[in-house]
Symmetry: C2
Subunit: 632 residues, 2 copies
């Protein structure tokens, strides 16, 4: 049930919701439902036991008011049993994240980089293939790194498109989700005092000191607006005469740059800086993007919030280091044990192509992935990139989802090398090619004992529900997921597969959805795996503790209990790219186990009653489907 | 329009809404409505000018859809012209607050305390009278310190009770308020960009560095829960063997105290401390009060959050000093230029009487006020109290308003000395006697050149709307005011008289009203004077910046603009008990003037357009009533 980096389609054909990490669960779970979870071993410390609580038993529930016809249709027509599958925890493929350096160890040290494998990497039809040597490459005899098959992907995608529109399935999922909501409400009413009792008895741990991970935060907006303002003023005091910019071919000092903008940093305020989202940005992602420009000047964005500029991103690095309270004195390299990095790939092929930066979409993919493959094959050939990749934990895919591409991904779609028009390909097309390349790359890296990459796209913030469908097939984790509101089938599938969703209600509040209407509370109650994240503190937050601000507001508006908040905090650590060692430290040794067994309340402050409720509820839902399959 | 300490009824008879500080305004204002506010003097700096903006002109508006019959009935029957009154700013009586000591000056210095006047103070019928000497007192020949007459107060109260229930008046006020709301919405749509432009052009000032006052915060909950927890743990590490408590006659050390409670501070967490409001407190003020007891133990409340205990409140003082970042090394005296003090009088006569602490209600009033009168007459007789009173800025009245007293204040009510039953008198009875005593006291103190006291009761948090009526007649400012929602007439009167309302939506969210339903936004839009305050950070807030948390959440949930937030900040300073000197410093020299003239945008960051809108809108409403009176 944990996010994995196992490549989609890698071991067997996937049909609909049969993502390998998914339907392997009910087999094991069914047993757990029969043997109640309270039967723990004798030597288990008491804090691991599940206290008695009032279970919501549904006698004779068979599909919460769905007619039997509908139920059988939806479960038999679209779900098949796993072919003789028996669940073994070892079969789960976990992502590999780099462990933080031990004391005194230099995170930028290159001397232990692995040797060159001599392989050759080349792109073909939008996908990087790895060959033993140039001769094999010329003959297209790639190494055995199975990748998600193009036709099967489209086939499965079309299957899912039909599934989510299928009336009986929609009814079934809608009713089950409604039931899950009511069940949680009843559980809460009956057990919230008991859950709280567990937390009160739990020494040394409370919401404040249980670990929380900000699961989605953009580097270019990770500081708050006041911080950026102070930084700009300070940089001017120190660096006014430094050459920092190239103005139409002329090297200019910071003083000259500000003069050219008719500005003096001394007069700047948070208001004139104008980087905070406001009422003007609601439903206006385009305006929101412009808010990245301090004082509306892209020159200042270049100088302070970008890496490619006259000072090689020094200011940007310094700000991030300040945010991370990173006291290491490395120059521009930003490293902190509190930071994990993702590569954000913006879906702006149309802009690159329009300016003639690339001849076709395939070239853009090659630009992104080929250097990464080469650094994986021969790390010494690019030590900077190789070291950086050690600290990269995944890829993101970002842009305004409400823009419609007009393109429908199908077997007739042009291959990336043939996609030479200025128009952007669809969200799904992007997602497939990113995912396929990451899947191949991960197998190669895993073979070499290197860290692997997760795929965690922005998804469901706006736009078509098909985005959520593509991510369901490919993502380890998504950011936003608001539009799951619009598709009961997808919402139920995200629940069944426990795909983590990093939500940012304050960001949504400024861009797409009023706070009180945010589905965070609803998803949390139903049992979808949600975490809280800030997205862009510079634009959405007011205080010096943006993540705490996010939690505080959610707690206040949604009246979350301490147990709710600690459960969300725990989810944030689980779905984060912290290494196995760190997760053991923050969540307990058994964090990979399912249900209350996997929870160490001493570290997480999540009540065992809550864990049992979640586990039994999920098993019950999965079992219902299994029974449906049997009756077929 | 500013809060004053002028005693009610002091100079002339008040009838209904004719509070002296109120209807003097339209006379001056009417002129301003005719001559547009933009005509400022030539030598006025540009930042004081009101930029051009789109005014919402209502051609032929006469009462926003109210029939003429209703309008004439409501305005002619219940409102009378001021008898030949002409408004002079000098006539406004401003409260006197002690200026903060200049550098190095000792705020506790007693050597400049005024001399004994030799007067005698005695209580009669619940009111303290001041006499030249004992002989005059025996003959009841008090000095001329006019006090609000008992019968007139009840007469006016009954008049207002009838007024707020009067159909046509209700319709009139309801329609006007609805109109004010729509008018603001239109103003906002037309001018928000222009307002923002003013703020962007305003150098050095933004929402972060414009002054905000927390206008309502209880000392016993002014720290956040984490702070209290840390303090308890620290005190145990240092003071475990110190005698800190009297346990059934036996002096016990802190260690023994905790042992008797079967607790060890080392194990304590925010959860076990259990002082934070949660879902359990909603609509349960009784439970909320119990949340003041750390770990549910009143002994710990006594030790840490009270002044009367074995260590003379040392811990409580230390916590407050920490909150105020007060670095003075005075022992238990808590002083900080950032703190202003109020005396909170809980309405718990019933408990005192039940335990036989007092024989009747008059005694309770005497216990509260007589020492204050005596310290005012002869400061040297009680230097500690006299110095303390210099830093006291007002009286508060507090309790669960939802408890109904069953008593109706009338001419037949027993006098305080006759009120010897265990039952509590009504809210209005409390308010009248507190107010009357404060009014007399203030005249005496003003004559002596001493600081005066405001009356700022909790009001309208719950319970009957008559509470809001009593406060309308007496208060300088109220805390909460939620129930103004329930009475359009009172709401309109609070608007017309611009009585400041300190609102605490996060507190309400835990106790009485869900956040999104809080009327803060509605009141603000209509032009009622609101400020934001925390009430009890220990119980309602999560972050280390509770006031900022309050502003941030209001900004997020209600989508307040920067101008809105700065306007609310400005109101908070205006209605606060900061001294005249401090207000000049934070708001500008002319802060007492009405409209844009009184606003220094360089200090407040409030757009002049907004100030002009507010002023013109208020004048328009007042003028409408004046025209109504004329036509009569």
């Amino acid at each position: 049930m944990k996010p994995t980096t196992i490549p989609y389609l890698c071991s067997f054909t996937v049909r609909g919701i049969q993502r390998c990490r998914t339907l392997t669960v009910p087999v094991a779970s069914a047993k757990a439902t029969i043997a109640p979870v309270v039967s723990v071993e004798v030597d288990t410390p008491t804090y691991l036991e599940v206290p008695d609580f009032q279970r919501v038993a549904i006698i004779g529930d068979y599909a919460s008011g769905v007619t039997m016809d509908d139920f059988e249709l939806s479960s038999s027509q679209y779900l098949r049993d796993i072919e003789g599958g028996v669940f073994k925890p070892e079969d789960q493929v976990q992502p590999v994240f780099t462990t933080p350096p031990s004391n005194g160890e230099d995170p930028f040290d290159t001397k232990d980089l692995p040797k060159d494998l001599g392989y050759v990497a080349r792109m073909k039809d939008g996908l990087i293939y790895v060959y033993n040597d140039a001769a094999a490459a010329d003959k297209h005899q790639p190494k055995d790194l199975p990748c998600p098959d193009y036709n099967t992907f489209i086939d499965d995608m079309n299957f899912l498109i039909a599934l989510i529109a299928q009336g009986p399935t929609k009814t079934y999922c809608h009713r089950r989700l409604k039931f899950l909501m009511s069940k949680f409400n009843v559980h809460e009413m009956l057990n919230e005092m008991e859950e709280m009792k567990e937390l009160k008895m739990n020494p040394h741990r409370d919401f404040y000191n249980c670990r929380k991970v900000d699961t989605h935060i953009h580097a270019a907006a990770c500081m708050n607006q006041k911080h950026l303002l102070r930084f700009i003023k300070k940089s001017y005091r120190v660096d006014a005469d430094r050459v920092v910019h190239n103005l139409k071919g002329r090297e200019v000092t910071m003083k000259e740059l500000f003069e050219s903008l008719h500005l003096h940093p001394y007069d700047l305020t948070v208001d004139s800086l104008d980087v905070h989202a406001g009422r003007q940005t609601f439903q206006r992602f385009d305006k929101f993007n412009a808010k990245y420009n301090p004082v509306g000047a892209s020159e200042l964005r270049d100088l302070y919030l970008k890496t490619e500029n006259h000072i090689s991103g020094e200011y940007f690095a310094t700000i991030i280091k300040e945010v991370a309270s990173d006291l290491e004195d490395a120059k521009y390299q930003v490293f902190s044990p509190n930071l994990k990095w993702m590569i954000q790939v913006p879906r702006i092929y149309d802009i690159f192509r329009g300016r003639n930066f690339v001849p076709h979409f395939g070239k853009m993919l090659e630009n992104i992935f080929l250097p990464v493959f080469q650094a994986t094959i021969d790390p010494q050939s690019n030590p900077d990139l190789s070291i950086f990749l050690k600290h990269v934990t995944g890829f993101d895919s970002v842009d305004d989802e409400s823009k419609h591409s007009g393109h429908m991904f199908s077997t007739k779609s042009p291959k990336p090398e043939e996609w030479d028009i200025v128009k952007n390909p669809s969200y799904t097309y992007y997602i497939y090619y990113m995912y396929a390349n990451i899947a191949v790359l991960n197998q190669l890296r895993r073979q070499r004992g290197m860290n692997t990459f997760t795929f965690r796209p922005h998804c469901g913030e706006a736009g078509a529900v098909t985005h959520l469908l593509a991510s369901f097939m490919t993502a380890d984790n998504i950011s936003h997921g608001l539009n799951l509101k619009k598709s009961p089938v997808l919402q139920y599938l995200y629940f069944l597969t426990q795909i983590p969703i990093a939500m940012s209600p304050l960001s949504n509040n400024s861009l797409f959805l009023e706070y009180a209407k945010n589905p965070l509370l609803e998803f949390h109650k139903k049992g979808l795996v949600v975490s809280l994240s800030t997205d862009d503190p510079m634009q959405f937050h007011y205080t010096k503790e943006p993540l705490m601000e996010e939690y505080a507001i959610a707690a206040q508006v949604f009246k979350l209990s301490t147990c709710d908040m600690c459960e969300i905090s725990r989810s944030s650590v689980l779905q984060s790219a912290l290494s196995h060692e760190e997760k053991c430290h923050f969540l307990g040794q058994d964090y990979l186990k399912e249900g209350p067994e996997g929870n160490d309340i001493r570290k997480t402050n999540v009540a065992q009653i809550r864990m049992a409720y979640r586990f039994e509820t999920l098993c019950y839902e999965l079992n219902l489907i299994k029974e449906g399959l049997k009756s077929e």
